[in-house]
Amino acid sequence: MTTPRISIEGLTKYYGEVLVLDDVNLAVAPHEVVCLIGASGSGKSTLLRCINLLSEFDYGTISLDGVSVEDPIWGRNGLYRRVGIVFQAYNLFPHLSVIQNITLAPLKVHKTAKQEALATARELLAAFGMAEFENAYPEQLSGGQQQRVAIVRALATRPEVLLLDEVTAALDPELVGEVLAIIRRLKTEGMTMIIVTHEMGFARDVADRVCFLADGRIMEEARPEALFSAPQHPRTQKFLQRIIEAGRL
């Protein structure tokens, strides 16, 4: 078996006295797409943010290609070049234009030559149908367009892993499709992705594996067909039952 791209072992985290991640173990192979589902507060977003050290954790290890993400060997930038993240609220910089948002990290952090950074950014924008907006500011774009720019920004350093944190949760329903289409495309291009989502249909469709989290633990993980049609754990059954009742599956 090859080394997993991302390997999480015994990950445990407290917020004060509250246990938010409880001995989480997860290995993600290169080019694999893993969806994390579960109720709000189940720890799935926190788990995602631990992977690129946006959240600190108390016990356990997270490795990228077999090397702990906390290992100084990564330097300050190495990890962030190889692991990109996209947030629910886009978090684009409002004072910077689309192209400036995308080239900020390549230029200032990774010291890419300006011509090269611009060329990469334009190529990515064109690939995602945003070429005409390179000089627009985030507030001039729709939510779906902003999220596409945020995805391009995360891709600008050519990362190998993309973390997606409820990237469609803030979007109007009619704009969800355009963002999901991009994620599907990234899958076909072989991107390794860990996706936190409430879009069960999308998870079933795009994931190689779905993990159901509750109380900070991975209660059940399975191929999407198995997990959605024949959930084993009572908590998963209950969760999916509620989703079905809400008409969301």
């Binding site: 943010r49 690129n52 946006l54 300050r76 930038n77 990890l79 962030y80 070049r81 990109g84 993240i85 947030f87 609220a89 978090n91 684009l92 910089f93 409002p94 004072h95 900020l104 990290a105 200032k108 952090v109 990774h110 507030e139 920004r153 995360a154 350093t157 329903p173 969800v176 499709g177 999901l180 289409a181 879009e199 069960m200 249909g201 999308f202 469709d205 008409g247 969301r248 599956l249």
Partner: protein, 298 residues
């Protein structure tokens, strides 16, 4: 919810009734008759004229009015004093500009020192806290007196000895305590998601501040700073008490010679000419800023 494939629904174009239904044209702007259009304005202007006219009538018909007019509104005295007062006012404007620039820069430096995290920077943070407590807690006038009279009297080698320099320094020290707090509130008001995004892109703490947080923070606090700039425009007149020959000092000199106060009124008018447009500009920018925020909230 399944995404991706949305079932085809009946489109309006296929609706057979579509051709027969006439969309009404947009409503025409209501045309006002001449009476409707002008009468409210006429009433407003008339009322203002009547009320202010009556007040003026009462004031000028008072027994003491001729004496007041002679003491404060003597046009001849104003004209005589004006060249000196204007020259003094030019000093006010220059001091204001230099102080304002220094205050904005030094206040920002203080705010950045305060925002540094990590145990190594504790002395800087403590310094800023003490600095702000000290200079925000003291009257500007007192600082101007201490610096403007006290320090030149020491004859410190290698440092300027002018009252103007040290008085202006006192203004900068006092006002920068306020501006640093304003900058700090602006920095803290930037959403945490922006910091997370900057960190996730690999920006160092300093780069995140410089490229992501600070530009937004400064834009947030511009209206507040403009208010402070208006206040400073007037407060530079405090330097007159340490002998700086600004507009107020020049006007006082004239008053001292003639016992006529019209020169002070001339100085007052000059200050109003400078501060009122500045205040209007501040209101305008604050309004724009409010609109921008409302747009952002939608």
């Amino acid at each position: 919810m399944t995404t991706g494939t949305v079932p085809e629904t009946k489109t309006t174009a296929a609706d057979p009734d579509m051709g027969s239904r006439r969309t009404p044209p947009p409503p025409r702007k209501k045309t006002l008759t001449a009476t409707e259009r002008y009468v409210p304005s006429v009433i407003s202007i008339a009322m203002v004229l009547i009320v202010f006219g009556l007040v003026a009538q009462v004031v000028t018909s008072a027994e003491q009015w001729p004496r007041i007019a002679r003491q404060f509104f003597d046009l001849g005295a104003m004209a005589t004093a004006f060249p000196n007062v204007l020259r003094g006012f030019w000093i006010n404007v220059q001091v204001w500009a230099v102080c304002l620039f220094s205050i904005m820069v030094w206040g920002l430096v203080l705010a950045l020192m305060r925002s540094l995290t990590g145990p190594w920077f504790a002395p800087l943070r403590v310094f800023v806290v003490l600095y702000v407590d000290l200079f925000r807690g003291l009257p500007v006038l007192l600082l101007v007196l201490i610096f403007g009279f006290g320090i030149p009297a020491l004859n410190l080698p290698g440092l300027p000895n002018s009252a103007l320099f040290w008085g202006a320094t006192a203004m900068v020290l006092s006002y920068s305590a306020y501006t640093s707090e304003i900058y700090r509130s602006g920095i803290e008001a930037v959403h945490d998601g922006q910091r997370a995004a900057a960190k996730a892109l690999g920006l160092s703490q300093w780069q995140a501040m410089l490229y992501a947080i600070l530009p937004q923070a400064i834009r947030n606090v511009i209206p507040v700073h403009l208010n402070l700039a208006v206040a400073l425009q007037k407060d530079v007149a405090l330097l007159s008490v340490i002998g700086v020959r600004d507009a107020v000092r020049e006007a006082q000199i004239y008053t001292g010679m003639t016992f006529n106060y019209s020169s002070l009124i001339a100085a007052a008018l000059l200050f109003l000419v400078a501060t009122i447009p500045m205040a209007r500009l501040t209101d305008y920018i604050a309004k724009k800023d409010r609109q921008r925020r409302l747009m952002g909230a939608l």
